[in-house]
């Protein structure tokens, strides 16, 4: 099944079939009809692989995220997929499982598919990879974090550090002084929030009561148990900043089991503003990032670039919003 077969049946040249598919207006309506009928009759589905090779336009974008298990990233992917599909692109995805090594290998693999753009989560640290990306000459969009020194081409995201600082301002503003911090171990992107946490405390001449890095995989560091352990060891703690809403949810449940009032005994704040955070009891103070919009904007940049435009802004800061809810009501 090929253009040639269709062309034969319709009594035209292969090239005309190609035109019917790609630039229908350039074919006389009656010819077009004849070709369309032949396509229909044969159940012909154009081979995009051949098309990609010949036209040097793959209409493929590949995206790498740390994990699809985290709803934050799947939101981004959804924003990407929706917008790209509307522009006739397809999305190849890879999950790096938070590993820089897997990420590097994946980037090279992906480049083999000759995508027109590649979407990466966070910074590009390896020089080898940066070089390969530049040599490929394709659009590179880095999403999520906006770390100045590490941007290869374009970036769409928000300032992780500033967001965490804003949350600390909120907590300190509410009068909390004995603060703890929790983040999933290995989450590179939480690191900056931890730095912000420390520095904000230092500015007020305060010290963390604890900084815990529980694991989702190692049962010895189960987030719930770890939270309880830390609070019991540091009972003076009056608020905990969790680097992700999921952790904060677990902390709320742990408090319920223990009979610790939230807020009252302990205030809790999260990051990411998952849908559940507005509904949970008590509702969770969090930092809202418009994930879907990050994906949508990234796709937009890609489509614009493909259309030959140089987008005005190479770095788009979509900002964040502190959503104040019950879990951090004044003590």
């Amino acid at each position: 099944m090929s253009v040639r077969k269709v062309a034969e049946l319709a009594g035209v040249a292969p090239m005309t079939v190609s035109r019917v598919i790609n630039t229908p207006t350039k074919v006389r309506p009656e010819t077009r009809e004849r070709v369309l009928k032949a396509i229909e009759r044969l159940g012909y589905v154009p081979d995009l692989v051949a098309s990609s090779l010949s036209s040097k336009r793959s209409r493929i974008v590949s995206a790498l995220v740390p994990t699809l298990g985290n709803p934050m990233f799947s939101q981004v992917i959804q924003g990407l997929a929706d917008t790209l599909r509307a522009a006739d692109y397809h999305l190849i995805i890879g999950d790096t499982r938070y590993s820089a090594k897997i990420e590097s290998a994946l980037v090279l693999e992906m480049l083999g598919r000759r995508p027109e753009a590649i979407v990466l989560t966070g910074p590009v640290r390896e020089e080898r990879i940066r070089k390969a990306l530049l040599r490929a000459g394709i659009t590179v969009v880095q999403i999520w974090d906006l770390q100045p020194g590490h941007i290869v081409d374009c970036a769409v995201g928000f300032d992780n550090y500033a967001a965490a600082v804003a949350m600390m301002r909120h907590l300190l503003g509410r009068g909390y002084r004995r603060l703890g911090f929790m983040a999933i171990v290995g989450d590179e992107r939480a690191r900056e929030r931890q730095v912000a946490f420390r520095e904000a405390l230092a500015q007020h001449k305060l010290k963390p009561t604890f900084e815990a890095l529980p694991s989702r995989f190692d049962p010895a560091y189960d987030p719930t148990d770890e939270f309880i352990r830390q609070i019991e060891q540091h009972p003076e703690t009056d608020a905990v900043f969790c680097a992700s809403d999921m952790l904060a949810h677990l902390a709320i449940f742990a408090c319920q089991r223990k009979g610790w009032a939230v807020p009252g005994r302990i205030a809790l704040a999260g990051f990411g503003d998952l849908p559940l955070s507005a509904k949970i009891v008590p509702s969770l103070t969090s930092i809202r990032i418009n994930q879907y919009e990050i994906g949508r904007r990234a796709a937009e940049v890609i489509v614009q670039r493909a259309g030959g435009l140089r987008p005005r802004t190479l770095v788009q800061d979509l900002g964040y919003e502190i959503v104040e809810r019950e879990s951090t009501a004044p003590p």
Copy 2:
């Protein structure tokens, strides 16, 4: 940058370069080294598009899911992606947004990429699509639901109906008699659970107190509000079967706000056993489906098929497990 360039630099024929990449053992070690050095020096990345066209093996699998927003499906995708990558395949994804129309269009688009297999969520209803899939002659794996009449080729999943029946047996066994049902509107896959709900009640000569289909998008049918409305209108209700854990979580929070004891005033059961369900207070009775495993097995079938094997079983029922927790403790 092409095999020819590399071949020239290494002083061999293009074909030898191809062999170094695909079947290294068929090349004398010293020749191989020379070629590898040339590849390294030029930063050559083989063009998989050309390779696909020429070899008629795209090493691409495409997967369609209703949404990536639902952690259940992203788990499946992750299982797929991990296993496929280990076998040197790439994954193209599409989300159908629960729309049969989008799904059909996507299937055709995807076929254009000449994937070696396509993964679909649930049944194939349109005859046109079924035909196109058969004509493409590729492996079709339907995941999730195992509906007998709708399987094109292979299927990996569980029996939705049986799972819901088992949950009803559990609820009735615990003595609950005045049952309500909730599912997100438009969720095709919840439909069977609803049927099971009704039939199980009918067998006990019972009638549902209510069946509600809230929406995640239409604020007039916000799941939380809808749940409260239904309970207030049908105060005799002593248990609610939610077609997804997410709904059950929202219901728990609604009960907390209203001061309704769970269990006690109302028992709640979910579906899917999200990680949070074990942690929430009260912990949620649910039906566990091993999502990741569904993805893994689907990938396994695909890889086996590609290797020329006909897998023993075309339909793999991975089963389910009723996880009894606090939310349905006896009244």
